[in-house]
């Protein structure tokens, strides 16, 4: 990775606002969020439960539409794209790790990892998936279904899947939220290791202060606004 890349913002938002209608009144979840994430950075978005962290992450990934404002991902204004083009963009440059793993129950571990590769029509999907699962320590579990795996193992599969397409940006939403603390620590270690190995930019959403300090920068969110 070239040095001048590091200076480039891979992700920036402008006045990002999200409101929802709850019957008679409008609820503002996010208000005028301006942030910038440079390539190679590891940024933690922290905040209490209900502060709008996950909504922000979803908007950054283009999984949801804002009420107003912009998100530029890899220099592309994603909300000028249609849903299909956004999906294609996600497939190309984003990786996800979710709190509740979000593996497809119909697919085995290796198939889950192969899924994003096959969706983007990458070659050698199986070899890549096998290698990644070996890397996360699941070489013996390739053909198990999510149901047959423990929570920690499922999250390892999810991490392997997140790195399968070699994304530029990894978005992680409370990746340890559903795990016990010992397993959580292992998962975090694994995630940061892979992040380093792949030179990926990381945006991590968490309410865990300790975890957030492992990132190079912290952004705090309270009542839908950035507080620092």
């Amino acid at each position: 990775m070239l040095d001048n890349d590091i200076k480039q913002p891979i992700l920036w938002t402008k006045a990002l606002t999200k409101q929802v209608n709850t019957g008679d009144k409008q609820l503002t979840i996010l208000q005028d969020i301006d942030l910038q994430v440079n390539a190679g950075e590891a940024v933690a978005i922290i905040g209490a439960s209900g502060s709008g962290k996950s909504t922000l992450l979803g908007l950054l990934a283009g999984l949801d539409l804002p009420t107003s404002g912009k998100v530029h991902l890899d220099a592309i204004d994603i909300f000028t794209l249609d849903e299909d083009s956004r999906a294609a963009l996600r497939g190309k440059i984003l990786g996800f790790v979710f709190q509740s793993f979000q593996l497809l129950p119909a697919l085995t571990a290796i198939e889950n990892v192969m899924l994003p590769l096959e969706l983007s029509a990458a070659g050698n999907a199986e070899t890549t998936a096998r290698r990644l699962l070996e890397r996360v320590g699941l070489s013996m579990r390739l053909h198990h279904y999510p149901k047959q795996l423990s929570g920690g193992e499922q999250q390892r599969v999810a991490i392997a899947r997140a790195f399968a397409t070699d994304p530029k940006l990894l978005l992680a939403d409370e990746p340890t939220g559903n795990l016990d603390s010992a397993t959580g620590i292992q998962i975090i270690e694994l995630m940061f290791e892979l992040n380093r190995e792949h030179g990926t930019t990381l945006v991590l959403v968490t309410h865990d202060e300790v975890l957030s300090r492992r990132c190079s920068r912290q952004i705090r969110l309270a009542d839908g606004k950035l507080v620092q």
Partner: protein, 823 residues
């Protein structure tokens, strides 16, 4: 909880399936009921009443009194043969003396001859005292004109009307000569009714079906030997067959909608249980006992069932009202008001289906491990839900037998469906296992389709079986419907014989042939006929008294049988026992019709002796035939090889089609061959053809509703996996899948599911169609190899299209919302 679930839209699928199912069933039920009533009423026009009490002696007055007391319309008539004369001309005529109110069903059609063009008039009156209405034959043979006087017994009556059609124009050959109608008030003055006269006294009764039945039940035990009752089914075998088949078909259509309903509910309840797992786990963890949960859900489902079924019944009633209004343009008869039984049935069926199919799996919710609160992936074992369906199947079987109102039909269907479920289930399981082992070789979309199917193996099998059963029910109905309608049309084509010539003498065969040639008409085949009275069975004397218990058999013994000879058996006859004779056989053998053999109690190998004009004739039964009486072709109870009856007096009989425009030829024929009895069954044939046409249409309409019920199954099947799909879509989309990629994966899945269901349905329909067609409706079932292609295509296309339409919303719901909801 019900209210909350309803608001949250949790019950949509279940309620929708139930409402559609019950309304479909109620529509079919109400409508079939009304059509049935209309058809039997229509066919009763052939009888002039709903029920006749016929006697050779005057009928006791309390019969009519009881009928009136039951609220029935009553009329009576006296029928007897007598000479009518106009100067030198005499004619043996069947005279009918009628009372006010005749006929109770149908109308008398008159033609006024005064005008240049005869005008048909439909009247609701009877001849005035002092007048006589005659038919065409009397007019022609007695060379009458309106206003002429004719001698009837001791009095003279004025000819005022020409009757072209009267309702009770029966087909019995004896009754088919010239006919005349007089007012019963003139009857005593004619002096024609004396001790020993051959008179038929008839009491006509009509009204509400229930009251008619009550009257029938009341009068039956009181009948003397001289009396008998006759409804349309007793009188007209071809109508009886058509009515019974259409009734069976309509009840099959109703049954098919029950199957479809069951399938829809079984599928819908899956989603319900999935959605309530969490709630139950929470309640359990908060200390709710299993018993508390049991009562909670029992109550919940009873309330749900009653509400949804009631809505279904209302919709069903409204739908059939619309259908009826629409149909009245096509069906001539006014459809009678339906009775309320179908509503009750709908309600009951809805509850039984819901409780049978939905309650067991839902009750399993009470055994949800409270641990699910902590680990969402802990669910219920599939063994639970499979056991749950068993109760549903038992409930369904009972419903079948009850709805079919025919133990045999019900059992056939139950056995058919249970074996189909078992076979489809096993086959589906194996196929899915095999397919999923192949999925690693398959490319992108197919791999994900197969993966989804095999991951949900149990529910995929359930879906394929449910869809397969639904489709099977539809295919079976289609197959049978086509066969049924074809069968009617072929047995009664537009040019079915509508005239019979009876009593053709051997020396008239040649002149008759020349007569036909002169009119450029093909000479119809003639059949020899010898009349004889049955006197001995296996050498033992037979007399009507031997059959005192069975008035039907007694009448046959009392009357003369028509015997005929033939080298080959008629095309519409089928030997069911024994063997037809060789062409050169000269043994004293005979072939007897199945029904008459049963009636008089004879079997293969028995020797029957007839008295033919004073000489005995004996022959042994070597074959028993089934005769298609629907066909209106000439048929005989007893047929012997040629040569045996050469020394007995013979006359000939023939039947042929005369177009309405060729009626002049018939007048000429009557004049040329005065001794030949011309029997005109055109009216009857027209009526039967019209009825068949109406039944066919009713069946097609009812079928449309069954198809609609089929859609509810599809909807339920698609909706039952909706949650999983929304979730799947969210992940796919988050991972960068385009809509098209996701659609392709789902399309593959639906196509595989549809193909499985289609294969099951085709296989099942072929077998079940054969069994029902052959053994229940007694049709010549024709195996249709296209059914495999059609069934599979419908399965694939139907599930694919419905699936893609049904998952459109899942495809477009924002992924974040879903992931957060589930996360």
């Amino acid at each position: 909880m019900l209210h909350r679930d309803w608001r949250a839209g949790e019950l949509n699928v279940l309620v929708f399936a139930l409402v559609i199912a019950v309304s479909g069933m109620a529509t079919v039920g109400f409508f079939a009921d009304r059509v049935e009533l209309a058809l039997s009423r229509e066919s009763n026009q052939l009888l002039g009443a709903d029920l006749l009490v016929i006697s050779s002696k005057p009928l006791p007055e309390h019969y009519a009194d009881e009928a009136s007391r039951l609220g029935l319309s009553v009329s009576s008539l006296t029928k007897f043969p007598s000479m009518i004369s106009n100067g030198e001309n005499n004619l043996l005529t069947e005279i009918k003396a009628v009372t006010e109110g005749y006929p109770l069903r149908g109308r008398v059609h008159l033609a006024s001859r005064s005008a240049e063009t005869p005008e048909i008039q439909v009247v609701a009156r009877i001849p005035q005292p002092g007048t006589i209405w005659v038919d065409d034959k009397v007019m022609t043979r007695l060379e009458l004109r309106g206003g002429d006087l004719v001698d009837v017994g001791d009095i003279q009556l004025t000819v005022t009307e020409l009757v072209v059609r009267e309702p009770d124009h029966s087909v019995g050959f004896i009754n088919m000569g010239a006919r005349a109608m007089i007012n019963a008030a003139d009857l005593p003055d004619t002096g024609l009714i004396q001790e020993g006269s051959r008179v038929s006294y008839q009491l006509l009764v009509a009204g509400e079906i229930k009251a008619v039945q009550q009257f029938r039940d009341w009068v039956k035990p009181q009948l003397t030997k001289a009396q008998r009752i006759e409804g349309i089914r007793d009188a007209r075998p071809e109508i009886k067959a058509a009515l019974e088949r259409s009734e069976k078909f309509l009840s099959l259509a109703a049954l098919a909608s029950v199957v479809l309903a069951a399938a829809a509910i079984a599928l819908a309840v899956r989603r319900f249980t999935q959605r309530h797992l969490d709630g139950c786990a929470v309640m359990r963890s908060l200390g709710a006992s299993q018993k508390q949960l049991f009562y909670l859900y029992l109550y919940y489902f009873i309330v749900l069932g009653v509400i949804a079924s009631s809505i279904g019944c209302l919709i069903g009633f409204a739908a059939q009202e619309i259908l009826t209004h629409w149909l009245t343009g096509i069906v001539d008869t006014e459809l009678p008001w339906p009775n309320w039984l179908p509503a009750l049935q709908g309600l009951l069926v809805g509850l039984v289906l819901l409780l049978g199919f939905a309650l067991p799996p839902v009750l399993n919710l009470r055994s949800v491990p409270a641990l699910r609160v902590l680990r969402r992936d802990i669910g219920l074992s599939n063994a639970h839900s499979i056991a749950g369906y068993l109760l549903g199947l038992v409930a369904l079987s009972l419903l079948f037998i009850w709805k079919a109102q025919d133990l045999k039909l019900g059992l056939y269907i139950v056995i058919g469906f249970v074996s189909a479920i078992a076979i489809f289930g096993c086959l589906g399981w194996i196929l899915i296992r095999v397919l999923s082992s192949l999925r690693h070789q398959a490319g992108g979309a197919w791999r994900y389709g197969l993966a989804s199917i095999s991951r949900r193996a149990v529910s995929s099998v359930l879906q394929a079986v449910a869809l397969g059963l639904g489709l099977m029910a539809l295919l079976v109905l289609t197959l049978i419907q086509d066969d049924l309608i074809d069968d009617w049309h072929t047995s009664l084509p537009p040019d079915a014989p509508n005239h019979f010539l009876v009593n053709i003498q051997p020396d008239q065969l040649q002149p008759l042939e020349e007569f036909f040639q002169q009119y450029g008409t093909e000479h119809p085949p003639v059949f020899p006929m010898v009349r004889g009275r049955l006197v001995k069975i296996n050498g033992k004397d037979v007399s009507p008294e031997n059959y005192a218990d069975d008035p039907h058999a007694e009448r046959h013994i009392r009357r003369e049988f028509n015997l005929s000879w033939a080298t080959q058996q008629a095309l519409d006859n089928q030997v069911v026992q024994g063997k037809w004779w060789d062409a050169d056989s000269s043994e004293a053998v005979m072939s007897i019709e199945d029904g008459i053999a049963k009636t008089i109690g004879v079997k293969l190998g028995d020797e029957l002796t007839y008295d033919i004009a004073g000489s005995p004739f004996s022959a042994k039964i070597t074959s028993v035939r089934k005769v298609d009486w629907d066909s209106f072709r000439v048929n005989f109870f007893v047929v012997v090889p040629p040569g045996l009856l050469d020394n007995y007096p013979v006359s000939y009989i023939t039947s042929f089609y005369v177009a309405p425009t060729e009626i002049a030829m018939m007048h000429e024929l009557v004049r040329t061959f005065p001794n030949i009895l011309v029997v005109d069954v055109a009216i009857v044939i027209n009526q039967v053809q019209q009825m068949i046409h109406q039944v066919s249409q009713a069946i097609e309409f009812v079928f449309v509703f069954t198809v609609l019920a089929g859609f509810s199954v599809l909807y339920a099947a698609i909706a039952s996996t909706q949650d999983e799909r929304i979730y799947e879509a969210a992940i796919f989309r988050a991972l960068g899948a385009r809509r098209e990629q996701l659609s392709r994966a789902w399309a593959a899945e639906f196509a595989i599911l549809g193909a499985l269901a289609g294969l099951f349905a085709s296989a099942g329909a072929s077998v079940l169609g054969y069994v029902i067609g052959k053994h229940v409706l007694h049709l010549d079932y024709t195996f249709n190899p296209w059914i495999w292609l059609i069934g599979t295509s419908i399965g694939v296309v139907g599930v694919l299209v419905a699936g893609m339409l049904g998952t459109r919303s899942a495809l477009s719901s924002p992924p974040l919302l879903t992931l957060r909801k589930i996360g």
